[in-house]
Symmetry: C2
Subunit: 216 residues, 2 copies
């Protein structure tokens, strides 16, 4: 799949309803709150008290806790797309792979979410909670992993990466190293973990680039 | 620090009180339950209902929820020590490093805990919950990471690994890859993630072993 299909898959969304600005500003706060306290703790009541709004006012925007949580997941996805995916749009192969990884680190360092990467936390919180929220998080995480994998495959097609490299394996490793950095920085309050992950990921990408040069 | 100090650091425990067998069998069930439902959900009431015991009977063993949770952490540590650390006792350097990693995978595959690696889950659950339970989990995770790091350093001292390798970086990567496998297997119900992590870790250890040969 090419970059445009990949892009539309992540950015496609329904036409925006009225009252967008209010809804958007509510969701910005809701995403921040969910990243700090967990998505499952984000109820209409909790959000109303954090925003000094009435519960009925929030119910007008989001009919239920689940609808609110799903809207928060979409808002977090928009942030991810804007900060990680869009700056890599138009790039291909190894350049795209390096860009996606560097953008991910910048987005984490800039603390797009005050409580660390929203998707790393939410995916762990929901691994055992079946339902719409889990299904959507799972789908988005799968898109991200597949995008990394397809980008490695694209690099192979361009002759930048050797044929013996397994794209799914590389995607797994990049993602695992990033998750490990999140974990370590959260548990030990140790932001150096991101430098370790970045070093490891750059080294791994350099290795697969090396394999491409050997093939020639 | 040598292997014996490492060993005693993880295995030292207070003298066992009477009623050990009952306490032990209660804890076995409690660890399994906590690995499935989360350590924070493990209350005296929840455990009493799972074991068909009276709450007062459990209070006699564990005075409070926090005491119960701390006891569960120690019981989980005992399982980890028995399955991961002890089979590597007496080994040094690269052999010890390979053994620790292979034992970790075997312990995960044998499902020592029905809900996946207890410590991966608990450390994420407690990263934002200050208290005794978090402190102990953090301490145990730090021991494990330091042990991996010291083992790489030991391998350097034996000339098995090149001087340019950063032991902390290797420990970070091994641990991150294992965490990533846990995450993926839990979220996608995809046990192939462990094979990916094992492949990546073996490759990384082979690389650092290679660096040792180049030094000679």
């Amino acid at each position: 799949m090419g970059s445009s299909a990949r892009h539309s898959r992540l950015t496609a969304r329904p036409r925006r309803p009225r009252g967008l600005r209010t809804r958007r500003s509510i969701l910005d706060r809701a995403v921040a709150l969910a990243s700090l306290e967990g998505l499952e703790s984000l109820t209409i009541g909790r959000l109303a008290s954090a925003l000094h709004m009435s519960k009925s006012g929030l119910f007008a925007h989001f009919g239920s806790k689940e609808e609110l949580q799903c809207a928060v997941v979409e808002a977090a996805k928009d942030i991810f797309v804007r900060q990680v995916m869009l700056p890599a749009a138009g790039l291909k192969g190894l350049r795209r792979l390096r860009s996606l990884c560097e953008n991910w680190f910048r987005y984490t360092e800039l603390q797009a979410f005050p409580g660390g990467c929203f998707f790393s936390a939410a995916s762990l919180e929901y691994d055992d909670r079946p339902g719409k929220v889990r299904d959507r998080i799972l789908e988005l995480m799968q898109h991200w992993l597949l995008d990394l994998e397809e980008t490695v495959r694209e690099a192979q097609a361009k002759g930048e990466v050797g044929r013996e490299v397994a794209p799914g394996q590389v995607a797994f490793e990049i993602h695992a190293l990033a998750m490990g950095a999140n974990w370590r920085s959260r548990l030990f309050r140790d932001s150096a973990a991101y430098s370790s992950a970045r070093r490891a990921i750059r080294m791994r990408i350099n290795q697969i680039a090396q394999s491409g040069r050997k093939d020639k």
